[in-house]
Symmetry: C3
Subunit: 138 residues, 3 copies
Amino acid sequence: MFRKIIKQTTRKEGEIIDITPEIIKAIRESKVQNGLVHLFVQHSTAALTTIEFEPGVLSDFRRSLWILAPDNVDYAHNTRWGDGNGRSHVKAALIGPSLTLPLGEGELMCGTWQQTVLLELDVNAGRERTIICTIMEN
Amino acid sequence: MFRKIIKQTTRKEGEIIDITPEIIKAIRESKVQNGLVHLFVQHSTAALTTIEFEPGVLSDFRRSLWILAPDNVDYAHNTRWGDGNGRSHVKAALIGPSLTLPLGEGELMCGTWQQTVLLELDVNAGRERTIICTIMEN
Amino acid sequence: MFRKIIKQTTRKEGEIIDITPEIIKAIRESKVQNGLVHLFVQHSTAALTTIEFEPGVLSDFRRSLWILAPDNVDYAHNTRWGDGNGRSHVKAALIGPSLTLPLGEGELMCGTWQQTVLLELDVNAGRERTIICTIMEN
């Protein structure tokens, strides 16, 4: 098992960051050829998924998340805690914090248009996010 | 590999149970220090995710699931089978049954506000739910 | 570790294919008795989940995906690229490409009404889809 902590600084709500290059770097450092790459984002207002990293799709994706958790309704979390990020928690719980990718011959076995992304969902900007990358060899 | 069956009795639709203490118990029993913890809920009307375990957030999350699968529309599943849980199946398929968490130095590597939860989505109350916890050492 | 490439030809948008028999075949070939089965669909307009494989539920599930990403709105991806599958990308990113299932005594440890399915979400029909099945023994 190889483990690496990936840090990403985000700037604003709705930001989507392609972390594929960081994952490839971790694979190179691990020297593992075949196995699984597990990713976990250690926060309740961020999430991980795969998507074609194209500005149009990213904007369409943000709109669908807005349907699920609109900006213009009240959130019980905000009423209780006043931190204004109720919608951020809801989106993160729906998409989920973890993702596992296959690794073959030292390469990520993803599709050409399938990048791994970190979703910054919090309304509070300028955060450092921690992603735990675990590479399992077998 | 260490495996433990976690049983949880649920009481009503929309109930969200923090199963983090049960996972920590399984980790202690396994004596594994580093690896991955895989969780799988063995039912088609329940799901697993991570969320801040705070009543306001949980209530906001339930409302978003309602947007996806409202209570007040007809479901083809209900028409065919008459068991009334069409919306439960839809929500469970969207969130998913499986979750993998990193384990380091004998501790779950989750964020402070990031609990692991079982979602009881079925309209039929008083069920015993089975979660399969597998700990992989490497 | 045992790895097998599963190929599935799909015919139309919204098609949901039960791939459980293919997974069981891979388990038999691997001869692995205990561990985890990881599945990954190598495309940005397809996804994997578990669901009761019953026509009513499948139809209810498609309707919920339509709420998230309706057919009758404009997509920035379509405007930029003209390939018409903006909604397909959004649905796939929300559900996700990966799934991990527990394996015990040579059998999938899923519920009776819990089948593993490939969702064909692309508007362009007649595609061959690749699912990478990795079986980890430990």
